[in-house]
């Protein structure tokens, strides 16, 4: 590895001040520190340091995302062939998926990192690794047939307005990936609903290739149609039957993830694999995940007991395995920058996040993605939760001191 380091050192002067490529110092620096942890040594204070850094932390989040990414890629193909009624092998399904997913990832990273490099160069600091995760999260919460230009616009919006105007990594109020999704949701509502959840479903329909009964709607889309209807009408019963055993959205299928939806959100098993990685390494907060789960189950249970419409009659366990609930719980709510920062606060934040996720999706069918709204809302509320937790600590300490 000495040889590689020699090569890097030899081209370094070009990028340093006065060099021909000094403008691209940030790019060079980020690549250099990517390959070699620099030989910086401590001064005073703690002379020895942990090997953990932001690169490693972010890398583990990406590893945790891989199961969802790989399953999502396969599922794109699976859903496509299911909708046309063709049978296809694993490789063919992965190919169809890869053709859709790879450009999304490229656009997301390309636009996002481009903007990051620009701001880092302007502000004169190194690249913060945060976008490595955001850039991977964004494709995973997109519908498969979202136009690439829309993704590019959404990423640019999220990085500039969501992050850089607040001062960059670590300073943002709301989750970057969800900001991009929310941007698309509100700016292009027409394009973000309907026949985009299964690849080429509109074309298949036009060509008369679509298997009977396939509409390309997601579980939440179907359920939203039951809100405001009487429970025992045939239409509602038809929808609810899809959630019974053997139906399209049976508990089994939802756990496995062989249903239409955003690319990475469908498979509960793949997401939970990621959750295990995050919890074992301590990188994702188990407090947030656990309380988020409990919050969702509690709200689901309350609705289930009320049973006022078809959506509410769905069991709490079924509620949390459809839509983006699991993905939001593991990868969105746990974003350390935008979540509550105190341990007690995390429990409250997670619980309310899960609670509101289910509440929003059931109460307001116009926002089927309740998780997105709930997490963004809780992001905004997180500083307030922390404020009260800190205030309690301050009061407790003052009281304790008076008691001596």
């Amino acid at each position: 590895m000495k040889a590689l380091h020699k090569i890097i050192s030899s081209i370094k002067p070009h990028f340093e001040e006065g060099g021909k490529l000094a403008k691209f110092w940030v790019v060079f620096d980020s690549l250099e520190t990517f390959t070699f942890t620099p030989g910086h040594v401590t001064k005073n204070g703690s002379h020895i340091r942990d090997g953990i850094d932001l690169k490693r932390t972010m890398f583990f989040v990406i590893v945790a995302l891989l199961p969802a990414l790989l399953f999502g890629t396969w599922n794109i193909g699976d859903q496509y062939f299911a909708s046309t009624g063709e049978s296809a092998d694993f490789l063919a399904k992965m190919m169809i998926g890869a053709v859709k997913v790879v450009p999304l990832i490229v656009v997301s990273y390309g636009v996002g990192l481009g903007i990051e490099f620009f701001f880092a160069a302007k502000r004169g600091h190194g690249i913060n690794e945060g976008f490595l995760v955001s850039g991977m999260l964004i494709p995973l919460i997109m519908p498969v047939d979202v136009p690439l230009w829309m993704v590019a616009v959404a990423v640019a919006f999220a990085v500039i307005i969501g992050k850089e105007v607040f001062g960059g990594t670590g300073m943002n109020i709301v989750n970057i990936a969800l900001t991009s999704r929310a941007f698309l949701f509100f700016a292009y509502p027409k394009q973000m609903s309907g026949e985009i959840w299964i690849h080429d479903v509109a074309a298949s329909k036009g060509g008369g290739l679509l298997v009977d009964g396939t509409t390309g709607a997601t579980a939440l889309g179907y359920l939203a149609s039951t809100v405001g209807e009487v429970v025992d009408t045939p239409a509602v019963q038809g929808v609810m039957n899809m959630f019974e055993a053997g139906g399209m959205f049976s508990l089994h299928n939802c756990l496995l993830g062989t249903i239409p939806g955003s690319i990475g959100e469908t498979s509960v098993i793949a997401i939970l694999l990621g959750a295990v990685i995050l919890i074992v390494t301590g990188i994702g907060s188990w407090r947030i995940m656990a309380s988020f789960l409990v919050g969702g189950l509690v709200m689901g249970l309350i609705f289930n007991l009320l049973g006022l419409n078809g959506f509410m009659t769905l069991g709490p366990l079924h509620q949390i395995v459809i839509g983006g609930f699991m993905f939001g719980m593991v990868f969105m709510a746990t974003d350390p920058v935008t979540a509550a920062t105190t341990n007690t606060g995390k429990l409250i934040y997670g619980f309310l996040g899960g609670f509101f996720s289910i509440m929003i999706r059931v109460f307001n069918p116009a926002y089927p993605e309740g998780v997105m709204m709930a997490v963004l809302f809780m992001n905004v509320m997180a500083p307030m939760i922390d404020h009260y937790v800190l205030q309690a600590n301050i009061n407790r300490r003052q009281k304790r001191l008076q008691n001596i």
Partner: protein, 455 residues
């Protein structure tokens, strides 16, 4: 009157080269130094000039703001040099030792028959007083204060620390005299002694409140012990002193001689003969330990006066810090680390980490680690949360306190508990920080700013 306090949060970093429980006497050094920057908060006013002859206990300088606080020479000799830095700040007063040591005679004082003023003036006059530090602010104590209580942590839980058991061997009588003197100096809160439950050497000490502490570092930090026995609020002042200085205080009152003796733990992976060495405060490093010219990894050797977590970097021909009872020799880490082998993507079997993303947590608890001084990454914005809390055993939110210091929000600092903390309490936070934030430096600056602000 003893109780057991369990500390759950924290971590023991087991470094290779732990000093053996043997004490060897260091050859008396040719040159000693007293370094004013060791004493935080002091404004140096010199009392000697180059070429002056001094005895052990002669005043070298005093504090301009409180002239009664005197700083004495550890040995008899001639003032060799007064080292100055930027803005003529005095960095060190070097004393070339005479072959025969002679002492200022401060007279014998029977503690049981003396009152507070008599003991205090003896302590001030002899130069023993600067070894008292105060909370809040972690600075040299102010003799005009009546401290609510005086706290002594009788064990050091930091890596490669000196063993009190070894250091106080044979000095129990002096230690008891020292504790008796402290009870006279302390206010209504009395004297608190923090012990390890496994260590019975000091179990018989009288006239103080003993608390046994169990658990990992920083259980031995006096600040953590104060927090769990008699916490501080705004306006309350307590003093702290190290166990070896308690014994030195006893020696002073018993014999009338100022002898700032130090049993120093010499350790670290680059130390050929890790053991305890008996010497004096301010002795030259070269008289205490052999520093190899190259570390095992081919890099230079870092000489640390004090603990690897909190100490000061000194040169090979430097001197032991006033408050330090350890010298650690560690390899420098100037070599860039390739990402897949030892860098940020490595398995991490070679590097002790508080993060479970390294596999070190699967290794046996008894393993000892060789750590170099590499930063292990670059400084980044605060991103990860919940990390500091795991190694900060106080009912204080460390990250929020640090953020309030960074923005210099005095009101928040006070409320969040800055009066209870010292930089050393944050050493493990700094060690394990993902974003490589210089936490101890921030806390020190915060304490200094607050102290200036309050006048």
């Amino acid at each position: 009157m003893s109780r057991i306090q369990r500390i759950r949060k924290g971590a023991d970093i087991r470094l290779e080269g732990r000093p053996a429980d043997t004490v060897s006497e260091a050859p008396s050094a040719h040159v000693y130094a007293v370094k004013p920057p060791d004493f935080i908060g002091v404004v140096t006013k010199l009392a000697v000039r180059v070429g002056d002859n001094v005895k052990a206990g002669s005043t070298l300088f005093y504090d301009k703001k409180t002239p009664s606080v005197k700083y004495s020479s550890p040995v008899a000799g001639t003032i060799k040099d007064i080292v100055r830095g930027a803005k003529r700040r005095i960095l060190a007063i070097e004393i070339e030792a005479d072959s025969e040591n002679s002492y200022c005679d401060f007279g014998v004082l029977d503690v049981s028959k003396s009152n507070r003023d008599q003991i205090l003036s003896r302590v001030l006059e002899s130069g023993m007083f600067p070894f008292f530090r105060q909370r809040p602010f972690d600075v040299v104590a102010n003799p005009d204060d009546l401290p609510r209580s005086i706290h002594v942590s009788a064990f050091d839980s930091s890596p490669l620390a000196a063993s009190t058991f070894v250091a106080l061997d044979g000095r129990l009588a002096d230690f008891q005299i020292g504790i008796d003197a402290l009870t006279k100096l302390a206010g209504e809160g009395g004297v608190h002694l923090g012990l390890r439950s496994s260590d019975t050497t000091l179990a018989g000490v009288k006239n103080c409140r003993v608390t046994y502490f169990e658990g990992p570092h920083p259980a031995g930090n006096v600040g953590v012990q104060i927090h769990h026995t008699a916490p501080l609020n705004k306006g309350v002042v307590v003093w702290t002193i190290s166990p070896q200085d308690v014994a030195n205080l006893g020696t002073l009152l018993k014999s009338g001689k100022y002898i700032p003796s130090r049993v120093v733990a010499c350790g670290g992976s680059e130390c050929k003969n890790p053991q305890h060495v008996l010497t004096l405060s301010g002795a030259s490093i070269s008289s205490i330990v052999d520093v190899p010219s190259k570390a095992h990894n081919g890099d230079e050797v870092r000489v640390i006066s004090g603990s690897p977590l909190t100490g000061d970097q000194v040169s090979k021909d430097g001197y032991l810090g006033a408050y330090h009872s350890a010298i650690a020799l560690l390899p420098e880490g100037h070599d860039p680390k390739f990402l897949l082998t030892t860098g940020w993507l490595g398995l991490g079997l070679d590097r002790f980490s508080l993060s479970k993303s390294f596999l070190t947590w699967l290794m046996p608890k008894r393993s000892e680690w060789v750590l170099d001084t590499n930063m292990g990454g670059e400084e980044r914005a605060f991103v990860v949360t919940g990390q500091y809390e795991k190694v900060f055993p106080m009912d204080i939110y460390p990250v929020h306190l640090i953020k309030s210091i960074i923005v210099n929000d005095i009101d928040s600092m006070e409320k969040l508990g800055i009066y209870e903390v010292a930089p050393e309490d944050f050493a493990l936070c700094e060690y394990g920080c993902t974003s490589k934030i210089p936490v101890q430096k921030i806390v020190r600056e915060g304490l200094d700013n607050l102290r200036n602000e309050l006048g």
